[in-house]
Symmetry: C2
Subunit: 256 residues, 2 copies
């Protein structure tokens, strides 16, 4: 989180950040969809895991050396121990409870991405471009993970706004009550519609002939590089529920 | 190049590929524009170069191990020697003259990107997110480099279509005559307009309130995440001239 300025955190700033992350997720999926499924990139070679696992592990080491994974919304995949930064890093404002960094749902994101999501938006096929493919996967995973772990800030802001509402279920370790407090169906419906619209706009084939470049309607979704309905489904059954899992996990230890 | 199928290469297939690469370049610039300039990422630390140089060198090693840099349009920056792939790679159809891999204008792209382009589309400022910033720079550099080095295929297709036109200036080593043969002003104007339009469409802030999500007109370009005019300038004075440099360099040795 950078929005919000200094030690202050506002729901508006967190929401702006989440809305911007939507663009990153849509872009990353559209880029990955350039390549077909490329299944061999995901099957373990003798003794050394898959190209995807190799790439993610090594990329995380490199990003850590460059100074990444210092902020609570940036957590690595594959429960990896990472080296310290090679270069001096700038501190970031500590606005969350200290254990925020240990809240992580990346195992669930990893499984969801490779087992459920990838087949929904990539074409069958194998074009042999495995290195490029797994680099594009890594970009998708990072964008999804960051969006979902920004739930830590959402939870902190909501708690600060109404500690009297959140403290009793936190003390009672009542997951369901917390989940109910954190669920705003009308907001979630809006988010689903917006990401669907973003996929329609960002995934269109832009030509000079379009009179005003307006997005294709539902009848033309087959021309979009990623089916807009996949985005709305992704948010509906994975991104928003996982974000709320992060929020609940954060809140449950908020009073420790 | 993957379009074109097998050993066959057509100008239509190459153009489709170049048009798709435009989207990647626009997305990459929009993503980089999330962060301010972050100048400290580009100044050399004692003894070990800048964060940007460190990241690009190490990322290229990783990408090479994963199997990248096998195709003639994928060439590394910083004249780096790269390790062989760790995983088996698939061959690609050899449609170009064998020396195609050695044609490389990445030094010019590197200087253009950091010295000229970056200040045009990033805000002044330093938010400390250097690792993320240089990873986004690397994505921009890769997208630009791939687009520009696809000029090798453009040159090959054009040569094959009219060897009688190209062979005399090639034998005479007449750069200017080749440049004239490769220049189609009307096509270039169309490309500039299209990338500008893409920046306007992909860089808009999508909200549910927009009635049809049509792109902002020129009056609203200040709301775009990257100024659409920067894209048209990028193509006009750098991307298209550098692509033609690649084409000329390729053609000059085409008859060897």
């Amino acid at each position: 989180m950078d929005a919000g300025g200094g030690e202050q955190l506002s729901l508006a700033a967190v929401r702006d950040q989440l809305i911007r992350e939507e663009d990153s997720i849509v872009f990353a999926l559209i880029e990955r969809a350039k390549r077909p499924r490329n299944a061999p990139a995901y099957s373990a070679a003798a003794g050394c895991g898959s190209v995807a696992e190799f790439f993610v592990r090594e990329a995380q080491v490199l990003h850590a050396k460059a100074g990444h994974y210092q902020k609570p919304e940036d957590v690595p995949f594959l429960s990896q121990d990472l080296p310290p930064p090679v270069f001096p890093t700038k501190g970031y404002p500590k606005v969350l409870h200290p254990f925020a960094s240990s809240v992580c749902v990346n195992d669930a994101i990893w499984k969801m991405y490779f087992n459920e999501l990838l087949p929904l938006f990539t074409a069958d096929g194998d074009d042999g471009n495995y290195a490029e493919t797994v680099a594009l996967d890594f970009a998708c995973l990072q964008a999804l993970s960051r969006r979902i772990h920004c739930g830590k800030y959402v939870a902190e802001v909501k708690f600060k706004d109404a500690p009297q509402d959140y403290s009793p279920p936190i003390r009672a370790k009542d997951n369901n009550a917390l989940m109910n407090l954190l669920t705003f169906t009308a907001v979630e419906e809006k988010v689903k519609k917006r990401v669907e619209k973003k996929a329609r706009i960002f995934g269109q084939n832009v030509t000079l002939e379009d009179s005003v470049g307006k997005p294709h309607g539902d009848t033309c979704d087959s021309h979009c590089k990623v089916d807009p309905k996949v985005l709305s489904k992704l948010y509906d059954i994975w991104v928003m529920p996982l974000t709320k899992d992060v929020e609940v996990e954060y809140l449950l230890r908020r009073l420790n």
